[in-house]
């Protein structure tokens, strides 16, 4: 079964940490979570996914509907597929 790829983008900012923690808590055993600190890496992916703010979460190559207010919440992340096996 293919793993669900979850990418979390941060910038070493205090507001980003809760999102990283939330994603890691929600991730199922079939999720592969990668965290990018944009101050060190991930510039090409930012361009590819058209990310304009952080924290941001990408699930299987698709930017999750998030960050409309204080950052991704559990409901939004679950809707994006985190915590569920890859389809």
């Amino acid at each position: 079964m293919p793993k669900r790829q979850v990418e979390v983008f941060t910038a070493g900012c205090p507001v980003c940490e809760p999102t990283v923690q939330l994603v890691q808590e929600m991730a199922c055993s079939n999720c592969e979570v990668t965290v990018y600190d944009l101050s060190k890496e991930g510039a090409e992916k930012i361009k590819e996914y058209r990310i304009t703010t952080v924290p941001a979460v990408v699930v299987d190559g698709r930017l999750a509907a998030c960050c409309q207010d204080s950052g991704p919440n559990e409901e939004q992340l679950r809707a994006a597929g985190i915590g569920q096996a890859a389809g």
């Binding site: 910038a11 900012c13 205090p14 058209r50 304009t52 703010t53 924290p55 409309q68 207010d69 950052g71």
Partner: protein
């Protein structure tokens, strides 16, 4: 040069410390243009929506965001903003955008009566190179 009708403002929130790196640049530009720099901290999602806050830091000249196309966005909230330009990606807006926005306002103030563009209605072309689409 003194332009009392110009306003340079930076909006930020405490979760993104990056705006502090921008302050020396903004202070220098404000000094060059003889204007004051104001800072506004945004503390809640409600306030973010009210002031159309696209993330920290956001820089506005006479109330207009210096990023080309920013007026088309509505993803307001408490988050850290990323900027892409021909210079690459950064957590701060390119200094050129800010300088161009200030210069555009100065040109408008100095322009003959009836000349376009109208103050506060700058266009991407007027500010220089637009942001890359991808």
């Amino acid at each position: 040069m003194f332009a009392p009708s110009m306003r340079l403002e930076v909006l930020y929130f405490a979760g993104c410390p990056g705006h502090e790196r921008l302050l020396p640049v903004l202070r220098a530009l404000a000094g060059e243009h003889g204007i004051a720099l104001s800072q506004r901290r945004v503390d809640s999602t409600a306030e973010a929506a009210q002031v159309r806050f696209l993330g920290s830091p956001s820089v506005r000249v006479n109330g207009v965001d210096v990023e080309p196309g920013a007026d088309q966005r509505n993803d307001f909230g408490l988050k850290c903003r990323l900027y892409r330009s021909s210079e690459g990606q950064s957590g701060l807006p390119p200094q050129r955008w800010i300088a161009d926005a200030l210069d555009a306002i100065v040109l408008t103030i100095d322009a003959p009566e009836g000349a376009a563009p109208v103050l506060g209605q700058r266009t991407d072309a007027f500010r220089g190179e637009p942001q890359a689409a991808s």
